[in-house]
Symmetry: C2
Subunit: 166 residues, 2 copies
DNA sequence: ATACTAGGGTTGTTCTAGTGAACCCAGCTG
DNA sequence: CAGCTGGGTTCACTAGAACAACCCTAGTAT
């Protein structure tokens, strides 16, 4: 994992970089999407995505080690396992949903979106991102950032760092 | 761009894959984050991220070509430009916000989050993902997927593809 | 004249993520 | 016994992503 080094030396820490460190390669989000879709078994995922077997094995191992997936046995006679989402893994759904929303809106040709999402309210729907406190839209121009408690002290003093938090 | 090939031959099309094709490398989301933060100039971004100059040039060119950024001159004497978000680019904010939310929740050590987000309502807040229609939470277990109008016809017939949309 | 700035382009090297193909093993099936 | 399935592992190879270092152009300040 080269990426760990980058964040470690990283000029500027944030959860985007940390998240990309863990899940930011091409396959990982797709593997997660499959599991969200209810595709839980190694060979099913492999066939569905056309991913190389060792690459998939690596992704599943990593996702399990990071606590997004659990490897649970579903039969005993020949030991077989399937991969199910943990709470940490299920909680990643909004990120995928936001990506789907963006892609559906901006990358869709005339024939329409490849996949429709249906919410439990019965409507065809998409993800909408709102403020956790007031419920209004959470957009680039309604959100400001401030240094948080976990901001690295050695960076907090630098003028160019402070400049961006005004 | 190897990735274009993958989606092209892709067993299973979706906006996650399409979005990852465009923006799914390690640096692109970080470059976008900088621009969201108001860091608009080449050298500023380069210093802030510690990214190699040619890599940054490539990302900026790509983001501009894809229509997420505009390259606008801000002075003439020596021609200088800065990169500003288009509507397509600004609309990507929810994806970053969802990533930040997930990272803040699951990857934060005891010292707390590195960056606080403040919404225009005045509260410290985070992104919340809700159904565009009813406003209730948009989560893995409240959302089902169906084939959309843009689903490739040659795949729609296959039994293993249909199996996942039941 | 010199040096410095902003915004790149170019070159050459390294490194690694992904790949296909082969192999392995356990346990059912015929 | 042979072969298939599920779930992997090991190997050798390669395309391309990132990097450092240097060059370039215009203007500007010293």
């Amino acid at each position: 994992m080269t990426r760990m080094k980058r964040t470690a030396l990283g000029r500027f820490p944030c959860s985007v970089a940390r998240t990309m460190d863990l899940l930011g390669d091409w396959w990982t989000p797709l593997v997660l999407r499959e599991v969200f879709y209810g595709v839980h078994r190694f060979d099913e995922i492999q066939r569905a995505l056309g991913i190389a077997r060792n690459t998939l094995a690596d992704r599943l191992t990593r996702l399990t080690a990071e606590g997004l997936l659990d490897r649970v046995p579903y039969q005993d006679k020949p030991a077989r396992h399937e991969y199910v989402l943990t709470e940490k893994g299920r909680d990643f759904f909004p990120v995928l949903a936001a990506m789907v929303r963006w892609g559906d809106k901006w990358l869709t040709a005339e024939e329409g979106v490849p996949v429709d999402l249906v919410h439990s309210c019965g409507q065809r729907a998409h993800a909408k991102t709102v403020c956790s406190e007031c419920g209004e839209l959470f957009t680039a121009d309604t959100v400001r950032s401030r240094m948080g408690p976990g901001f690295p002290a050695e960076l907090a003093g630098k003028p160019e760092v402070q400049a961006r938090f005004t």
